[in-house]
């Protein structure tokens, strides 16, 4: 029964929200770890993907495209708050 569950905050919804955040954190960390490994694996097989990524990221022409991408992402992410 949900109302009998342990909650550290007065409002159990905050505990649930924290649970979601921590679960997302686990996913983000796992992905970061995998990406690092992927870069290392590519480097070992002869592709300096880390260097290429830095090179691509520093391209000034990329900024505008990334900004548009970011805005779409934020709209999806935060849009429900004002719907």
């Amino acid at each position: 029964m949900a109302d009998e569950r342990y909650h550290a905050f007065e409002d159990p919804a905050l505990d649930q929200l924290l649970g979601i955040t921590l679960a997302l954190g686990a996913e983000v960390w796992s992905l970061r770890d995998r990406l690092t490994l992927l870069e290392q694996a590519l480097a070992q097989s002869g592709t300096d993907v880390s260097g290429l990524i830095e090179e691509l990221a520093s391209d000034p022409d990329r900024a505008a495209a990334v900004a548009a991408d970011r805005d779409t992402f934020l709209e999806r992410f935060l849009g429900p708050l004002i719907e």
């Binding site: 569950r5 905050l14 921590l22």
Partner: protein, 373 residues
């Protein structure tokens, strides 16, 4: 420890994350909570755990820390079970494997009734012991699950549950007064870590017996002991009503067991322990310290486990006078205090929510003797 299936990168990353989350809580949040507490109390220090707790609980940071601690535990068990889910058949086969020349024995009682306090949960499983789904008894893979999830609690998941805490248990076993201990009984031995330490400390003992309610836990204990070449009898039974004869043991012990039962059950267990111990025999327990041994704010932090970690009888035990319970059962010369042993190589014991640093009182030894004749 017995071989566990390898973890994938995703599973390893998840364990690393959860371990880091706990350590962050212990090394950053809790010290800050205590610092803020100190700043607010000034010279008017709360004298009771309840008053200290009221002040600490009011801190939003404490609420976050407690919530993180709870969530990390729930996520830890889920991650441990998930990392083993695809390997059920091979683990079942491992558990069913009979060593060719076993050093010890496994004696299961298929029809042993499990007591209500042990199996019942009234909150959708969230008050299972340590929040592990199914507690110690329902899940056939509870051994491997603890090997990963329990070790995660001790912030040492790569070492495995049976490998930690190093040193402490052998020191506890060897710390008994010098005597001729030929037969030793370990009450509520679960995965057998304490039982194995007694075998290491007393290699010449005739028989060392570990008793527990859980068949799956005993299977894992047996497997672990055989892996280590340690001769131990693991026996399924209820410590409130044992089959052993009167005066048949020289020493009785229990590790992190006394806080897992109600005080009524504990009195029954101590009565049985008195019966099976020979006159002049020794009884010793290692557990967490009673609240009375701690400063009010540390006692409050320690009380987290009662509600936040599925430890239903934690407060009942830690508020009680264990030495008096031993004396009620007939034992004499009851003494208690922190276990004296060399600090282990890692600080992340199960000592928290009670601060990250190693503190000797986090392992609390209570012992007594059965009178001669």
């Amino acid at each position: 420890m017995p071989p566990l299936p390898p973890v994938t990168q995703q599973q390893a990353a998840r364990f690393d994350y959860l371990e880091g989350l706990r350590l962050y809580n212990y090394t950053r949040h809790i010290p800050e909570v205590l610092e803020r507490y100190e700043a607010t109390v000034g010279s008017r220090r709360p004298r009771t755990m309840a008053t200290a707790g009221k002040r600490i609980k009011a801190q939003t940071l404490y609420q976050f820390a407690a919530a993180i601690q709870h969530q990390a535990q729930v996520m830890g068990w889920a991650s441990a079970a998930e990392s083993l889910a695809d390997h059920g058949d091979e683990l079942d086969a491992l558990l069913a494997k009979v060593p060719k020349k076993p050093k010890g024995r496994l004696v299961l009682d298929e029809v042993l009734p499990l007591p209500g306090y042990y199996t019942e949960n009234d909150s959708a499983g969230l008050d299972d012991i340590h929040l592990a789904p199914g507690g110690y008894w329902r899940e056939s893979l509870v051994g491997p699950i603890y090997e990963r999830g329990g070790a995660l609690y001790r912030t040492a998941w790569r070492l495995g549950y049976s490998a930690s805490p190093p040193g402490a248990l052998v020191a506890f076993a060897a710390g008994a007064p010098s005597g001729d201990y030929k037969r030793i009984l370990d009450l509520g031995c679960s995965f057998g870590g304490n039982t194995m330490s007694f075998r290491v400390a007393y290699p010449d003992a005739d028989e060392i017996v570990g008793i527990d309610l859980s068949a799956p836990a005993l299977r894992w204990a047996h497997l672990s002991a055989e892996e280590r070449g340690l001769a131990i009898t693991y026996q399924q039974g209820d410590a409130t009503e044992m089959a052993h004869e009167d005066s048949s043991f020289d020493m009785v012990t229990g590790f992190l067991f006394a806080h897992e039962v109600t005080s009524v059950v504990l009195d029954q267990v101590l009565g049985e322990a008195f019966r099976v111990l020979r006159p002049g025999g020794h009884i010793r327990f290692l557990d967490v310290p009673p609240y009375s041994a701690l400063e009010p704010e540390a006692a409050f932090l320690q009380s987290f486990d009662n509600d936040g970690n599925g430890e239903k009888f934690w407060n009942e035990f830690l508020l009680s006078d264990f030495k008096a319970a031993l004396e009620r059962a007939g034992f004499v010369d009851a003494v208690d205090g922190p276990l004296d042993y060399d600090q282990p190589g890692f600080t992340g014991t199960a000592a928290l929510m009670r601060t990250a640093e190693f503190r000797e009182e986090n392992r609390w030894c209570t012992s007594a003797d059965k009178p001669e004749g």
